[in-house]
Amino acid sequence: MRLLVVEDDKTIREFLTRALAESGFGVDASALGREGEKLALEGVHDALIVDLALPDMDGLELIQRLRAQGVTAPVLILSARRSVDERVSGLERGGDDYMTKPFAVAELLARVRALLRRSTPSQSEATRLRVGDLEIDLIRREAKRGGAEIQLTQQEFALLEYLCRNAGRVVTRAMVLDHVWKMRIDTSTNIVDVHIHRLRNKVDRDTQQPLIRTIRGVGYVLKD
């Protein structure tokens, strides 16, 4: 998978390149809109990450030009502007997702993966998920650890399902709130910790191998 990052801020461009490369993506980067356009037109990128405030061209204009020239790769917009209108106009003009700065790298990676999944035909939806000796049945809404059933509330099951779907990857609190409770609130509340704590008490109790881990300062990961 090859990505193109168009971002004029050197520090952000460099850490994005590094974070994406460490996650296994091939990365090209450009500080300018024109150069980015040229690179994108080669047609070798699976997704684009575009900052809105470029020195030579508005990011929205770049996206529009690329779409007009037949570039179909999904685009994740980065912006320091946080207005809803900006977000909507970004999505209307060819962007596929929108993130405001500051953002967590984990969330950026998750969104890039989601974009890539959306753009490639998905395999048939799994009905069972398995991580180590944890197994969840999405149809019967049951979870088992080492064969023993775990009694979970609806919320707890939804949370565990989200963690399992992202097994091995870090999810942030904001991502959990968004996907499990359908709430887009950027808040530094530790309310999600309470739920993770309760879930962990049920999933990882009586076991030497805890699956749910907290990455302090970032979020959580469910990992064998």
């Binding site: 909507v88 209307e92 500051p102 919320q155 359908k182 709430m183 950027d186 530094s188 309310i191 300062g217």
Partner: protein
């Protein structure tokens, strides 16, 4: 220089407006004066005409009854002389300068006409030949060498016996009419000039006040918003404009001051966490133990998240206070949203040894910005988690009160301190201090933004938030009211963002 000033004066609205109104005024006055002149002229003419008609009838009778002998001409001349005396002298026998009467009688026989009047009779007879004698109706006849026209009445004798002409030049009347005309013209001129000057001065005075507003607006600088337009005790449109302009400046200046306060407070609030983040990272860098340094880095990250949250919320509250928070309202059931928030917070209350209950049984449909209202509810819950105290009972109720949807949060904790419930009295739309930015209770670890955000969002929706201590003794109560149905802000045509 002078010509430039004059040129620029001619370009002023005062000059243009004064000129236009004066032209209209002058035309109007001219029409009125002309009408008056015509009425007076007719009345004067009628006076001489009636004399002419009466005398001509007498002369006709004399001419008809006098035998046509050698004395005929003399008799007729005598009578005509006598008649002319009547108008040539005033009532007290003084001659009236310039009044002239003539009499002519033509007969069909081709003999020279009988003539009584000024000596140059040929000119008169020539002029009389040109008129068609209309029986008994005076007409105006100009005679060469005479300044004013004569009024002449022609009377036919028997058929074929010729005509009698009696003419009168009423010099007194003509002079009167001339004087009238001159005075009317002078009066008109004076009125027009005076009218023009008064209009011009009035307009200039008014427009100078407009200029003062322009000058004030031009002198406003971002660092000095203190200049105001002087307003005297007037109630006209310009005074209203000036007052409105001053009010606008007051509002701008208050907003700018708020922003300054905000930036000052934010700078203050950001400095300590930045110092702490920096410190943690510095120590982490110097440590060899990876787990220890990771711990410090994680702490720094958490602090950065909180900082980012403070900035976002501050901006939202500032925008809402400044009326600039853009809402994207959707029609939603507030009870359902509150239910989800309650599900999210329920376990936290339990962990905190607090008893939490929600009563939101009936759907309450509200037009609202869902992300903002979700954060508002979340802030209310966080507030209870932090300040209601262990063992407190917290109750969240959603209902309808009049035209408003009410979010009521009650607890039986320690309640607000009296200081927080004070009226700030600074004229801001939100009077209660507890809803002000950076105002926080003595035990608060936060930034004093949670409830400020609640109030700001409520106001942006056309509603309000209020806080009090419960009347039945212990505990605090916060009520947020949002308009039911269509709020103050019309729902904008929003394209649903498909953000995953």
């Amino acid at each position: 220089m002078f010509s430039r000033i004059r040129r620029s004066f001619y370009r002023t609205s005062a000059w243009r407006l004064a000129l236009r109104s004066t032209l209209v005024f002058a035309a109007g006055c001219a029409v009125v004066f002309l009408a008056m002149y015509i009425v007076v002229a007719r009345a004067v003419q009628e006076r001489s005409d009636s004399w002419l008609m009466g005398e001509s009838e007498t002369l006709k009778q004399v001419a008809l009854t006098t035998p046509r002998d050698g004395l005929y001409d003399r008799i007729v001349e005598e009578v005509a002389e006598q008649a002319s005396q009547e108008v040539s002298y005033d009532g007290s026998g003084h001659p009236i300068e310039g009044n002239t009467v003539f009499f002519a009688e033509t007969n069909g026989s081709g003999q020279p006409p009988v003539w009584v009047g000024p000596e140059e009779s040929a000119k008169f007879l020539e002029a009389l030949r040109r008129i068609r004698p209309a029986q008994g109706t005076p007409v105006s006849v100009r005679v060469p060498g005479w300044r004013a026209p004569f009024r002449v009445v022609a009377v036919s004798m028997k058929p074929g016996e010729g005509h009698i002409y009696l003419g009168l030049l009423d010099a007194e009347a003509a002079a009167l009419m001339r004087r009238l005309l001159v005075r009317f013209a002078l009066g008109w001129l004076v009125m027009v000039v005076l009218g023009f000057l008064v209009t011009l001065m009035g307009l200039r005075r008014m427009l100078r006040r407009v200029d003062a507003i322009t000058g004030t607006a031009a002198s406003i600088r971002s660092d000095d918003l203190s200049t105001r337009v002087p307003v005297k005790d007037q109630r006209d449109e310009v005074a209203r404009l000036a007052r409105t302009f001053n009010n606008m400046l007051d509002r701008i200046s208050s907003t700018v001051n708020q922003l300054r306060t905000l930036t000052d407070s934010m700078a203050h609030d950001l400095k300590s966490p930045i110092t702490s983040v920096r410190g943690r990272l510095e120590i982490a860098l110097s440590l060899d133990d990876r787990s220890q340094s990771a711990e410090l880095v994680a702490g720094a990250l958490e602090q950065l998240d909180r900082l980012s949250d403070v900035i976002t919320t501050s901006l939202d509250v500032a925008e809402a206070d400044g009326g600039a928070l853009r809402l994207r309202p959707q029609t939603v059931d507030l009870s359902e949203l509150a239910g989800r928030v309650a599900e999210l917070y329920g376990p936290a209350f339990a962990d905190n040894h607090q008893i939490f209950a929600i009563s939101a049984d009936r759907p309450v449909v509200v037009q609202m910005d869902v992300p903002l209202c979700t954060r508002m509810l979340s802030n209310l819950m966080e507030n209870e988690l932090h300040y209601a105290g262990a063992g407190a009972e917290v109750r969240l109720a959603i209902g309808e009160e009049g035209n408003f949807a009410a979010i009521r949060v009650e607890d039986n904790g320690p309640g607000f301190s009296a200081e927080l419930l004070e009226n700030a009295g600074d004229g801001s739309p939100e009077p209660t201090r507890v809803f002000h930015r950076f105002v926080k209770g003595s035990g608060s670890q936060g930034h004093g933004l949670g409830l400020a955000f609640v109030s700001a969002v409520a106001m942006a929706h056309g509603g309000r938030a209020s806080a009090r201590n419960r009347s039945d003794g212990r505990g605090a109560e916060i009520v947020v009211e949002l308009p039911l149905g269509e709020g103050k802000h019309q729902p904008q045509q929003s394209t649903q963002a498909s953000v995953s």
